[in-house]
């Protein structure tokens, strides 16, 4: 006899509401890669924010680890149509890293070890919307998923959450990044299905 509990049906409906248009739920964690996986020793790792006034703010790995950490649980949405619910991360909010950064720039170009870049408005990195994360699901972030540290901007398609993040350049004009110069959308809001240029 088939038994369908009200709770189960309720959760299913709720999960469907969490899926942006055109997405499906993925329980694994697919790896998409545009190049070889960079290996960055922690004693040589650094993260830098460069302002439009040519001022640089730098953090070593130990300095990053000494900052207050947060443990966001978020849904992530890949432009290749998979979404993963309730992913758990640990890292530093970009609000903490931007505390002493003076800027009037509106745009950010994120760059990574290995040469990857992605662009987004600066406001999408602030106010609790983005982190530099170094742990996933209670473990150190694996290199294939962007370790030692990656950007996490879960409200945009996941190509914006640059793996192997190395720094952020602040700019007064928008400068398209790696996928954005090859047909993908400049902003990438999954709820508006902004996959390609013109969407």
């Amino acid at each position: 006899m088939a038994i369908i509990s009200r709770g189960f049906r309720g959760r299913r409906t709720e999960d469907r509401d969490r899926l942006p248009p055109g997405q499906y739920e993925e329980r694994g964690f697919p790896v998409l890669s545009a190049g070889p996986t960079p290996r960055v020793p922690l004693d040589r790792w650094e993260f830098a924010i460069d302002t439009e006034a040519e001022r640089t703010h730098r953090w070593t790995w130990d300095e990053l680890m000494a900052l207050p950490a947060e443990t966001p649980t978020v849904d992530i949405h890949c432009v290749t149509k998979w979404s993963k619910f309730d992913t758990t991360w640990e890292g530093v909010s970009l609000d903490v890293l931007f505390e002493d950064v003076e800027t009037t720039a509106d745009y950010a170009l994120v760059h990574s070890y290995g040469g990857y870049t992605t662009n987004l408005p600066l406001e999408d990195l602030l106010d609790g919307k983005a982190w530099i994360v170094h742990r996933f699901d209670g473990e150190e972030l694996e290199p294939r998923h962007g370790g030692p540290a990656r950007l996490l901007v879960p409200h945009l398609y996941f190509w914006k959450s640059a793996k192997w993040v190395r720094g952020i350049r602040l700019m007064t004009e928008e400068w398209p990044g790696f996928w954005e110069t090859a047909g993908y959308h400049d902003y990438g809001d999954p709820w508006r299905e902004q996959r390609y240029q013109g969407d």
Binding site: P36, T80, G115, W179, T181, A182, Y196
Partner: protein, 88 residues
């Protein structure tokens, strides 16, 4: 560790949608290091979100191809030239 990339023959079908010749048989020259070789010898990452073909010598990007609905984007910034074999 598993091999992360395919070889350049993976470009034959997607590029065949755009070009009348088989581009994988052409000789490309890398804009970064100058190495020349068949497009089929490039290291190809993808296919999603797009095909990224890298130089086997210096690993810089030589060619990128994104196929969206109703359009393809082809980036050849990393290629100095393509020598395409043609009949006399």
């Amino acid at each position: 560790m598993s091999i992360e990339h395919l070889d350049g023959n993976a470009l034959a079908g997607p590029l065949g949608e755009i070009f009348a010749v088989d581009v994988t048989a052409a000789t490309g020259r890398c804009a970064s290091c100058g190495l020349a070789g068949p497009v089929a010898s490039l290291r190809v990452y993808g296919p999603e979100p797009g095909l990224v073909a890298r130089c086997p010598g210096c690993e810089e990007v030589v060619l990128r191809l994104v196929r969206g609905p109703g359009a393809a984007w082809l980036d050849l910034r990393g290629t100095i030239s393509l020598r395409v074999p043609l009949p006399d």
